[in-house]
Point group: C2
Chain length 294, copies 2
């Protein structure tokens, strides 16, 4: 299978599993199941769970060893998007071309659907831990919990809020992205590696790979934001229309940001050297960060 | 120690542990720690964690065996209150005489502080599971996750929302309370019993005790609501000022509700017969549901 085929293969496994993950059958609140699945099944590239499956393949493990944890991380990612979109947060009406969860189901249900998805992530991991390899899975759960919580993603969301309406310095921006985006990109790679019994050396290499991938992801987002806005508005680079918020582009300029993106990606791919050909998917995934158009 | 002393003793252990549970030390988002601790340390009777500690004493176990799980359940309870109080939900400005979390910190931080407390509950349990008795603790975590999630408390919150502005029938009301309040009262009793290696028979008895306690708690709340309102408004029983929402009192009347409260409590206490004197605290706790004034 080439990269695209492999990606589609992973996505199919993940979406089949996600589609069956919400088991509510109580007649009094089918709306909650609907709201949870609405956001959970809204598509996307499934970057995070894909990373978990691809990591398992490095260790020649069966994918089903890590599918539950991969899906749990996607549930955490999804709940964070639902809550991020709320009027009190980013106040977004659309996500991936569809109305946001609160636009469809109302704010109260959106809050609860988010809560329920976060809780379901843990229910899913705990249940899977009983299926075997229990201690490794508990360790993986610990890593995910830390990256998802106040020392990880949620911490990053709070820093992001505190940056609104003023310029952050580069240290604050770096910490914010490391936590807000980076943590939940490291989580699937590290947790899958732990479940697959990676040694310390392998775990460190994969963690570094994922850290670089997360950073590349963010720099590229900032570049696309500016390029997208310039196209829309017919403006030229250097316009400070977007500079009410710090980004890699506002801090370092477009040229330097593109250079950083290349370097960070190259460095990330180098961390995979010890894995040989089995890491080709992860290499191409990193390379695709540089070329992606959205 | 008499009942009151014992209760104060339990509360002290719990509050010491809760006060040290939030470990954020990142300078960029101290506000999150503040918001989490603001609600976590807001006092109250600590009914749920107290139940866990009292259950451990039935089995002559050290309290520290269950303290982490007791606190995790209190974190779950606290997050649910923060989210319940939000403008999109119950829109409450005060809780226990203090401004609600979003009134103090804004809605965005309140949403994230709630998310962070839910996540912290799992971080706390996972970490504690590594300290020993791992499989039993994982089993306890599974029970708590189920009672807290879409098949438990969150399900009950959604039914509650769907009941707004119309009268629920008695079956719906029962399901709503069983999930919204009952689940998180069963959680500490069952999880502590599991950690303390209760046998099936003991576990069933304690679960039944907790189910009755939860029901008594709710009936008493409904009774207090009506009595409080009557006092305030100088009205007589039978007034339908509160009848836009179904409660035990609107469905069964005040006399029958008080009778139900007595019966449910008596039945609950009877489930403790096999435990002898070591269950005296749990007996008095149940009896205090009938007499409490708030």
């Amino acid at each position: 299978m080439n990269f695209k085929e492999k990606q589609a293969f992973y996505i199919e496994i993940i979406e089949n599993s996600l589609a069956n993950s919400v088991t509510i059958d109580n007649q009094y609140y089918t709306i909650l199941k609907e709201a949870m699945l609405y956001s959970l099944m809204a598509g996307g590239k499934r970057l995070r769970p894909t990373l978990a499956l691809a990591t398992a393949e490095l260790f020649e493990k069966e994918l089903r060893e890590v599918v539950a944890f991969a899906c749990a991380i996607e549930m955490i990612h999804t709940y964070s998007l639902i809550h991020d979109d709320l009027p009190a947060m980013d106040n977004d009406d659309f996500r991936r071309g569809k109305p946001t969860n609160h636009k469809m189901f109302g704010e109260a249900i959106a809050i609860l659907a988010g809560d329920a998805l976060l809780n379901l992530a843990y229910e899913t991991m705990i249940k899977d831990a009983f299926a075997g390899n229990t201690i490794k899975k508990l360790r993986a759960m610990e890593v995910i919990a830390q990256y998802a919580g106040s020392l990880g993603m949620i911490g990053g969301q709070v820093i992001d809020l505190s940056c609104e309406g003023r310029k952050a310095d580069s240290e604050q921006l770096k910490t914010m992205h490391k936590l807000k985006t980076g943590a939940l990109i490291k989580a699937p790679v590290e947790s899958a590696a732990i479940i697959c019994e990676a040694d310390e050396n392998q775990l460190t290499a994969l963690s570094n790979y994922a850290a670089n991938l997360g950073l590349a992801f963010q720099i590229k987002d900032d570049i696309l934001d500016v390029e997208g806005s310039m196209e829309e508005m017919g403006k030229k680079p250097g316009s400070d229309s977007l500079s009410d918020k710090s980004t890699y582009v506002t801090l370092y300029g477009m040229e330097k940001s593109k250079q950083m993106l290349e370097e960070v990606t190259k460095e990330g791919i180098a961390f995979l050297d010890q894995f040989g050909k089995s890491a080709d998917f992860l290499r191409e995934l990193a390379a695709s960060m540089v070329t992606r158009k959205q």
